[in-house]
């Protein structure tokens, strides 16, 4: 019994925008996990409701930027009765340390979770040196 962990609601964080936006929609910061394996950096982001075609991932000047756009047309004509969470687009950026092989970035979207695999560039990979 003690090992069962009950899930808690994590409040959505709104993005502190650097620039002003021209659209009235809210933008939230998706929850993220970052871990490193020997092949590269993995970034996992939770973006519920974001469809495969509305995800934009880019690396520019060592900054990884992920944007997920939500389709609000599904909410048209719906009368809210009771609400517990807000909906909006998702956006988050990370400054990368270490060189990434940009041409080999892999992305997968499953159940509202975006998994990014950023492979380290060849020269940045740790190399084992044989002692003769």
């Amino acid at each position: 019994m003690a090992s069962k962990k009950e899930l808690q609601v994590t409040q959505k964080r709104e993005l502190e925008k650097k620039e002003e936006t021209t659209i009235p929609a809210r933008i939230f910061v998706p929850n993220a996990d970052i871990y490193e394996t020997k092949d590269g950096l993995n970034v996992v982001l939770e973006m519920p409701g974001v469809d495969k075609s509305s995800v934009d991932v880019r690396v520019e000047d060592d900054v990884l930027k992920v944007d997920g756009k939500l389709d609000f047309s599904k909410y048209r004509g719906l009368q809210p009765l009771y609400t517990e969470y807000n909906v909006g687009h998702f956006s988050r950026s990370f400054r990368l340390f270490g060189k990434i092989d940009q041409s080999k970035i892999a992305a997968e979207l499953k159940d509202g979770v975006l998994s990014l695999m950023l492979p380290l560039a060849e020269k940045a990979k740790p190399r084992a040196i044989q002692v003769n």
Partner: protein, 141 residues
């Protein structure tokens, strides 16, 4: 309930967590507060029918169960967060665990007409209002 003594801190923290959860949940008061147990639910009206939209990112379809009874809907399951072996964790914000939530709607619903759609981490529950519950216009003769 017998608790193991493997990690007393874990047990203590779990106790604290569940105490906090009971304070944070809205079962004590009948108010439409924006705080409730996991998962967060938005309820909409679509014509005569009810549409509940629930955010469940990272929950796979096979780990999600839905039960309907009279005018209540129970949503329960678990959320797994896995990491490969030999991975060094830099940031951890996603949480795993179990959830169990029952939603009651103020109208009678047609249990056979309930439709559930799960896509991109969003569960949409379409709850049709029972014919017997719909208001009827009465003609004056």
């Amino acid at each position: 309930m017998i608790m193991g003594f493997a990690d007393p801190f874990d047990t203590l923290l779990d106790l604290q967590r569940s105490l906090e959860a009971s304070l944070a949940s809205d079962w004590l008061q009948d108010l439409t507060t924006s705080r409730g147990p996991f998962p967060p639910i938005n309820v909409f009206q679509q014509g005569d029918d009810i549409l509940a939209i629930i955010e469940l990112p990272g929950v796979s379809k096979s780990d999600l169960q839905i039960e309907a009874k009279e005018n209540t809907i129970r949503i329960f399951g678990k959320k797994n967060v896995d990491y490969p072996e030999e991975a060094s964790l830099h940031r951890r914000e996603r949480v795993s665990g179990e959830f169990d939530r029952t939603l009651s709607v103020p109208v009678q619903i047609e249990p056979d007409g309930i439709k559930a759609e799960y896509r991109d981490g969003i569960l949409a529950l379409f709850l049709p209002r029972a014919e017997s519950d719909k208001p009827r216009t009465i003609k004056i003769s």
